[in-house]
């Protein structure tokens, strides 16, 4: 290094101020690069849901089915395709954001031209793409390997899984604002995920729930994700109900992202 003799770079810092979209893309690329360096996490992300689904497949493989009704595995397995990405991306995102806070990089990012919404959307984009890869693998293994029956087009299952994953990312970002440590962040997972899982209609059909539980279930976004998957499982084309469900989940994700941006403080004490 020859510090003093180096030609001076005095060019203005930003001849064309970087736009929000470019910064979102740069941030998403950075998050994906971090992921790429962590081979084991990538492997687990891609393989684990298929392996767990395989366990469910074997669990019900030898049980008789009621004629005219979808087998238990078809019903539960399909729902799981929406729940895995939600849970995994919730956990990964809340830990990633906590690390960003603890390492001081978050404080530093907040002093750069990167806006808070651009940062959060960058995370959503990166983990949404990761979820797409995960969904393609899991859905392929499920339909080819485990004979999961889906009446509708399989790409819709992937789409719903991705929207679900983005919801997980958004809630993970929001939850990380309230967690002071990794221990706390991990424990937010059952708080956010389990009630939605219990009430989504998989364990007990929603019509058979107590009225107030059904009302709670009505405002939980995972309910709509599961309904969307069941629509694709039951009918050959994309139904209107399914698109409404997908829109509700996407809207909930956007709402959570907005709340996360609002709770992310630039100035701290």
């Amino acid at each position: 290094m020859t510090a003093a003799t180096l030609p001076r770079r005095t060019a203005p810092a930003a001849p064309h101020p970087p736009g929000g979209l470019r910064l979102t893309a740069a941030t998403a690329a950075r998050v994906l690069r971090q992921l790429r360096h962590d081979h084991r996490t990538v492997a687990m992300m891609l393989v684990l849901p298929s392996a767990l689904l395989g366990l469910l497949y074997l669990l019900w493989a030898d049980l008789p089915t009621v004629p005219g009704q979808p087998s238990t595995f078809d019903r539960v397995g399909l729902t799981m395709l929406g729940i895995f990405p939600f849970v995994v991306m919730f956990l990964v995102t809340s830990i990633a954001m906590l690390r960003e806070r603890a390492s001081g990089t978050l404080e530093r990012l907040l002093t750069t031209p990167l806006s808070r919404p651009a940062l959060l959307l960058g995370y959503g984009l990166a983990f949404g793409l990761a979820a797409a890869a995960q969904a393609v693998v899991t859905v392929s293994v499920a339909t080819i390997g485990y004979d999961l029956d889906v009446a509708g087009p399989v790409y819709l299952v992937v789409l719903i899984a991705v929207v679900d994953a983005v919801l997980g990312v958004a809630l993970g970002l929001l939850a990380s604002a309230f967690a002071r440590s990794e221990f706390q962040a991990v424990q937010f997972m059952p708080v956010i995920v389990l009630p939605q899982f219990f009430l989504c209609g998989l364990l007990v059909p929603r019509e058979q729930m107590a009225g107030w539980l059904q009302a709670v279930s009505d405002v939980l976004p995972l309910t709509y994700a599961v309904e969307a998957l069941q629509e694709v499982g039951a009918s050959a084309g994309a139904s209107g109900t399914m698109w409404v469900d997908v829109a509700v989940v996407a809207g909930a994700a956007l709402l959570a992202l907005g709340a996360a941006a609002a709770t992310l403080r630039r100035r701290t004490s």
Binding site: L6, S103, T111, S269
Partner: protein, 240 residues
């Protein structure tokens, strides 16, 4: 020429404690200002206020003609935190390029910043595999990359060998000569002598704002460390 930074009656609380007690100071443009003071005296807190990430109780901080932390300033101010704040799971080059993208400059600027801190050969290595001093230099490069008008450096030379330290100080002076304003906190008194101005703070109050020469003259000692100790002791005696 107006000041690059004007701090007026700044009061900051951290936790339940008042950390800065109505501090006022100015930083001249195009100079290297040293920020010195005992551990816990509020150096980092003042720097956080300059870059706009510190909640302040009262007072004002004006940076390059705007309120500290305003959106228009974020491309013009570079901040290096006390602990290296870069992504340990990325390579040196990936870190520099990410921050280059955030400041709207290209990959060539990232490579130039890495050359400035002597890390060209380590560009492909993961930050987690580097020594502490090397990690600090990656952190510094990520602030240099945007060619900011104000550089806020919190103990940037900790853990560096004397050769590198001298080279980095030459770099700081070259930047100042080209018009950049720098504020550098340090515990190393030998570095204080390299600053154009020195701000000494103790327990959140400004003890002295002068050139190193003035400080030596005022305390009647050539040794800045001794001068600093004299000032701190005098302040303690008047307080007692």
């Amino acid at each position: 020429m107006d000041a690059a930074v004007t701090v007026t009656d700044l009061v900051v609380h951290r936790g339940r404690r008042r950390v800065l007690h109505g501090l006022s100071a100015t930083l001249p443009r195009g100079q290297v200002t040293g920020l010195l003071g005992p551990s816990g005296s509020g150096k980092t807190t003042l720097m956080r206020a300059l870059v706009g990430v510190q909640v302040v109780r009262s007072g004002s901080v004006s940076v390059l003609g705007e309120t500290a932390g305003s959106p228009g300033l974020r491309a013009r101010v570079g901040y290096v935190t006390q602990a290296p704040s870069v992504y340990a799971d990325l390579t040196v080059r990936e870190n520099a390029r990410y921050f280059a993208a955030l400041y709207g400059v290209g990959a060539a600027a990232a490579d130039a910043a890495l050359a400035d801190v002597g890390l060209t050969d380590a560009a492909g290595q993961l930050v987690t595999d580097l020594s502490g001093g090397q990690q600090g230099r990656v952190s510094l490069a990520c602030a240099l990359v945007g060619v900011p008008e104000l550089l806020v450096l919190d103990e940037p030379t900790v853990g560096l060998d004397p050769v590198l330290r001298v080279e980095l100080w030459a770099r700081f002076h070259a930047l100042a000569a080209a018009g950049t304003t720098l504020i550098v906190s340090s515990h190393v008194m030998d570095e204080a002598g390299r600053c154009d101005r020195l701000l000494l703070i103790r327990e959140g109050r400004l003890l002295s704002d002068s050139t190193p020469q003035e400080l030596r003259a005022r305390t009647g000692t050539e040794d800045l460390e001794a001068a600093f100790l004299t000032l701190v002791r005098t302040a303690e005696e008047t307080a007692a």
